[in-house]
């Protein structure tokens, strides 16, 4: 639908210009004031020419700013870019998140799995990773109801994928969600994402109206 409107936009522009130059139509929409082309298009409900180009440019601005601000720690990706990362390698473990009890169960399962993997899976780093897992899966239950968590172990790096099909996050809210400790769109402390941002080594994030996808990278030290 949007593409169709874009196709017709130049035509509508020309017609609009002609109409505006006819005195009869000049004062028709906004009574008593001159009708501009912008006002004419605004009066057509839902008509947003070139919106997808604007959305793409807006996304690029957020992507570059977040990347620069976090010194490369947070990458905002499109859903397709994220799927490329997700499908690049083998996933060691996948767990569904369907209700509150899965928050605890998935954390315990991943904890058990990594204990036998030959890395220094103990102390602060272990707690920090488990905390990030818990915060991300809690967000699934709060905002999307269901989703899944997957684990990939490569060399000395653990990647936790957290995927849901919820309503996604508004780009405008993203800086606050990531960096503003205490910001929340729900009745909560609003610390989840800021904790993840604090402890993760690298975070890839894709969000749209079809869901939110996270890839949290953590470096582990080899067992001596």
């Amino acid at each position: 639908m949007q593409n169709n409107l874009d196709y017709w936009f130049p035509f509508v522009l020309v017609c609009g210009s002609i109409l505006i130059n006819i005195p009869k139509y000049n004062k028709s929409v906004v009574s008593g004031t001159e009708l501009s082309i912008q006002q004419l298009f605004r009066s057509i409900k839902g008509f947003r020419p070139y919106q997808h180009i604007r959305d793409r440019n807006r996304f690029k601005v957020y992507r570059y700013l977040i990347f620069a601000f976090t010194k490369g720690k947070v990458n905002l990706l499109t859903t397709n870019e994220f799927i490329n990362i997700f499908t690049q390698g083998r996933v060691n473990l996948t767990l569904p998140i369907r209700d509150k009890s899965d928050i605890t169960m998935s954390r315990i399962e991943i904890d058990k799995y990594l204990q036998v993997f030959g890395y220094q899976w103990q102390g602060k780093k272990r707690m920090q990773i488990l905390l990030c897992i818990s915060e991300a899966t809690t967000n699934i239950i709060k905002h999307a109801n269901i989703g899944e968590i997957a684990l990939r172990v490569d060399d000395n790096k653990v990647t936790i994928f957290v995927l849901d099909q919820g309503p996604g996050m508004e780009l405008e809210y993203l800086p606050n969600i990531l960096f503003h400790h205490g910001f929340s769109t729900k009745d909560s402390l609003g610390c989840g994402f800021s904790l993840i941002y604090r402890y993760v080594d690298c975070l890839a994030l894709a969000t749209s109206e079809k869901g939110t996808k996270l890839a949290m990278d953590f470096k582990l030290q080899e067992e001596k």
Binding site: D102, T104, K124, C191, L195
Partner: protein, 100 residues
């Protein structure tokens, strides 16, 4: 997942929490603790040292409990000797918020 034991003596009510305090066990905590009948001037002590895990949802429950009883004029004390739990409490700002 979350075990709560309770004892009462002349110094107040003592709760010992062990296991996991997160969104899935928050309800258990709320039912066991926040519905407690206390009178003004009493002290409630929470020992968090035996918790193996706490996240922001769990700390949210501790905050709710603290505010609930503080509004009733009841003092709430949180004791913890577990460094992993203490780090999360610090990072979230819990210690600063409930400092006397």
């Amino acid at each position: 997942m979350l075990q709560i034991s309770k004892s009462i003596n002349s110094k107040g009510i003592f709760y010992n929490l062990s296991g996991h305090l997160d969104m899935s066990t928050a309800e258990t905590f709320r039912r066991a603790v926040v519905e407690e009948q206390c009178s003004r001037g009493e002290v409630i002590h929470f020992d968090l040292s035996d918790l193996v895990f706490i996240d922001s949802s769990g700390i949210g429950e501790l905050f709710r409990c603290y505010w609930h009883y503080s509004n009733l004029g009841i003092r709430v004390v949180f004791k913890n000797t577990n460094p992993d739990i203490e780090e999360v409490l610090d990072v979230i700002g819990f210690r600063e918020a409930v400092a006397d």
